[in-house]
């Protein structure tokens, strides 16, 4: 039985992302780390909305030519719709943040000529 492997996958993705952000020197690798955390949290939101039913699991909550046995016991057989809407919003947020970060990284590279965090860090405390 897949006990709760999705949640373990979420924790693993969050830590790979956090590791990349905290310990990596290259700016682009930090951006990739943030996107990994982003997809980890999205996976967490989606797995919250899953619901077992029968042997092949819940059905998507869309009624257009849905299978008949899913229609008969309607709410229990269908997966929860709200986390899917939340994840849609969070994915678009990920795209927006990614676009902004990459445009800033492009500018930093054009301005400093390097992507190494240590060389750029002129803003001392």
């Amino acid at each position: 039985m897949i006990y709760n492997i999705p949640f373990i996958a979420v924790v693993a993705m969050i830590f790979i992302g956090l590791y990349a952000v905290l310990f990596k020197r290259n700016l682009v690798k930090m951006v990739i780390g943030i996107i990994i955390i982003e997809s980890g949290v999205n996976l967490f939101l989606i797995t919250l909305g899953y619901r077992w039913f029968g042997e092949n699991g819940g059905v998507v909550p869309i009624f257009t030519n849905a299978p008949s046995e899913a229609i008969n016991n309607a709410p229990e057989s269908m997966v929860l719709p709200v986390p899917q809407a939340l994840t849609l919003t969070s994915i678009v947020i990920g795209v927006a943040v990614l676009a902004l970060m990459l445009s800033i990284v492009m500018h930093i590279y054009r301005h400093y000529g390097t992507l190494d965090v240590r060389k750029i860090r002129r803003l001392k405390e």
């Binding site: 897949i2 006990y3 709760n4 492997i5 999705p6 949640f7 373990i8 979420v10 924790v11 969050i14 830590f15 956090l18 590791y19 905290l22 310990f23 797995t47 919250l48 909305g49 899953y50 619901r51 077992w52 699991g57 998507v60 909550p61 869309i62 009624f63 257009t64 309607a74 709410p75 269908m78 929860l80 719709p81 709200v82 899917q84 809407a85 939340l86 849609l88 919003t89 678009v92 947020i93 795209v95 927006a96 943040v97 676009a99 902004l100 445009s103 800033i104 500018h107």
Partner: protein
């Protein structure tokens, strides 16, 4: 091992302990409470006339989130255009 990496490692491990606990406290596939979602699945066709439960939540029940999200995309595009405003031929 500069001080910064030690502090980051300590913070890293404390966070690790929190997240691992959450992973084992939640049960996959058996949600604890589902009253809100059952209401949406049963009333989506009656109240909004939509067959797809997800689109009802995205555009009607929680439409204001999608307005917020449309502004996020709008803000990101204006931000990128503003940052690259010096880009002429």
């Amino acid at each position: 091992m500069s001080l910064r990496t030690i502090v980051a490692a300590v913070m890293f491990s404390i966070l690790a302990m929190f997240f691992v606990f959450t992973a084992f406290m939640l049960s996959f596939g058996v949600p604890k409470a589902t009253q809100m979602d059952d209401y949406i699945i049963m009333n989506t066709q009656k109240e909004t006339g939509t067959n797809s439960g997800v689109t009802t939540v995205v555009f009607d029940y929680r439409g204001f989130d999608t307005l917020g999200e449309a502004t996020i995309l709008f803000a990101a595009v204006s931000g990128v255009i503003m940052i690259f405003r010096r880009l002429k031929k």
